[in-house]
Amino acid sequence: MDEVSGAELVLDSLKKENVNLIFGIPGGVLLSLYDRLYDEDQVNHILFRHEQCAAHAADGYARASGKVGVCLATSGPGAMNLITGLATANIDSSPVVALTGQVSTKALGTDAFQEADTFTVTMPVTKHNFLVKDVKDLPGVVRGAFYLANTGRKGVVLVDLPMDVLEQKVRNGTTKNLNFMGYKPNLKPNGFQLKKAANALVNSERPLILAGGGVISSMATEELRAIAEHLGAGVVTTLMGKGAISEVHPLSLGMAGMHGRVPANNSIAECDVLLSVGTRFSDRTTGWRLEKFAPSAIKIDINIDPSEINKNVQVDVPVTGDAKAALGMLLEFLKDAKKKNESKEWTDRLREMHDSCTECIKGVGERNPIDPRWAVKEICGFLDNDAIVTTEVGQCQMYAAHYYTARSPRQFITSGGLGTMGFGFPAAIGAKLANPDKQVVDIAGDGSFLMTCQDLATCIENDIPVVVCILHNGHLGMIRQWQDLFYGKRYSSSNLGVTPDFVKLAEAFGAYGERIEKTSDLRGGLKNAFSSGKPAVLDIMVDEEDNVLPMIPRGGAIDKMVGVEKCRCM
């Protein structure tokens, strides 16, 4: 008979979406699906050691490749373990499809073994989710999940799959389609609004562009660069927007925000027209005093998600639509418009700001104990120009954001919105699987790495040679920093005390490990790590008292940073 099981339908649907990698862990209710995977040669399943890592890996894969990442976990604890990963991906608009097993439909709601209400629990951390109760719905739902995850503002879509639905058989050709009548991913921007934006920009004396992650996810970097060059506008980015413009471009001023560069933040305060693209104006970007955020500027905001417009910052020219389409149209309007002369004063100011940052980074020198900034700079100098850097969260993340120079999009992968410690390592696994020929490095802290390090086993098992560079300071560094600066040096629970021997830890998994205690050893350590051909952990002992400065203190305005004397940027 021409009958197929639910499990086969799921696999067929995945193949139709060109999925060749799934990150997951099996479980009782998923046995039928894993049984199908056993014979499968088109779809490769990577077995993880914790579901959270499977989700982060799918997310890292998506961010590095621009394709949808897929993760798979069983019911109850499996699905619950995924949640941190789903929330991380969703808040950063990363396209991920999560498949979860569920107890049989007849057992739903009975508190059966390994039952958790995944459908309800994941609603707030996904763009959309499904609980499939009829096997005939499966192909439509899976197709829909990929469509929703990868259109409009991208995000996470979860499909909950009860055991009996996966096992049921259905005659070929009797499956149902699904349509989403209320879902209109608004892609075509409004020309009238863009003309208004163009008009404001050509009449501007001090134009500035704020680029967010949306520029990267819509692949609008070329358009962005062209507009910046056409106008002579400075470009600052959010953390998620790092790589939206090459950071060696003379108009690039680096990252703005709470831990942003002084010139980037000052330029926001000084500009007279601010063109923001693909950013949601998070508090980490704007500082806390919104009335001080680009106070005298005409604000143009291009966002694919209408709910982001006027959510945090009130704007003058809202444009709803895809960044690439909108910037493309805007560039045409700008070329048509009669351009005023560039203000030499602003051009000079931008150059001065860019150069001062370059000098500031250059000025970070060797010292022992190792300056973590220097370590990141040294790693960056060692890596190929197209290498991918992922980060954990905290001080290591901010050092990486400032001292790793991104030349193109999808090179810098970090948990911006949720700030998930433990993200960087599994995300690096996903990024490496998406780009086997590129170097992939996780810039980690000793606190973060311990949260997900068990998946070194996954790297060894599947021969995934990512390199973890731990900036080891024995502390939850960013917590320590806040206690140092704002809580009278009372280091409550931020000292990690006894940290493991990361070299032995790496070796125990079968990975390469090396401790770096002097600046002179770092380059050799990097060479050893990469030439080992194995997953590697470099345990770099850095100055434990170092703080990420300058910064905007809590409650502060964007142009009132503390610790400005610590850097040479102007």
Binding site: T120, M123, P124, K127, M181, G182, P306, S307
Partner: protein
């Protein structure tokens, strides 16, 4: 802060009510009332949600709800161009004939109905604009309210008015 009435046309799928109420809760928007039932279109339901908010919060509420995949259309109903109704059942103390007479007069004036009488109480039903119901309840408070139930607001725009 002001009461706003949002009318939502949504796909009638399992979980849509949780999604809608969850979205508002998550964005710290307090729901005053929420009613839902099937409507003239197959497979769709109409929800009427009232919230207390300022203009910016209302705009956010509409946009956030609109983002939900199962939401087909969101519109805000303006008081001046909509018919807004609430149904209220209220039981008041009414021990002697004099008081009963008074209550009947008041209820008549508000075009309500007496739907149950016992030795000590009267039960009143009224369907009207919620603000008029508020006023009736105020009047009845003097007699002692034993029980009060309201269905929550349902509303429709006037023909030709902007919205639906």
């Amino acid at each position: 802060m002001q009461m706003h009435v949002i009318s939502a046309l949504v796909e009638n799928r399992s979980g849509v009510l949780t999604r809608m109420s969850g979205m508002l809760t998550r964005r710290d928007i307090n729901i005053q009332s929420l009613t839902v039932s099937s409507c003239e279109k197959m497979g769709l339901s109409r929800m009427t949600i009232t919230i207390m908010s300022n203009k910016e919060e209302l705009e956010q509420a509409e946009k956030q709800l609109n983002k939900l995949v199962e939401v087909v259309k969101i519109s805000t109903l303006h008081k001046s161009s909509s018919i807004i109704r609430d149904l209220c059942l209220v039981r008041v103390n009414a021990k002697d004939t004099k008081i009963r007479g008074e209550i009947i007069q008041i209820v008549d004036a508000y075009r309500g109905k007496i739907v149950d009488i016992s030795l000590n109480t009267m039960t009143i039903e009224i369907t009207d604009d919620p603000r008029r119901i508020d006023k009736l309840i105020e009047m009845l408070r003097a007699y002692g309210i034993k029980k009060l139930l309201r269905t929550g607001v349902t509303a429709i725009s006037m023909n030709g008015a902007n919205g639906e």
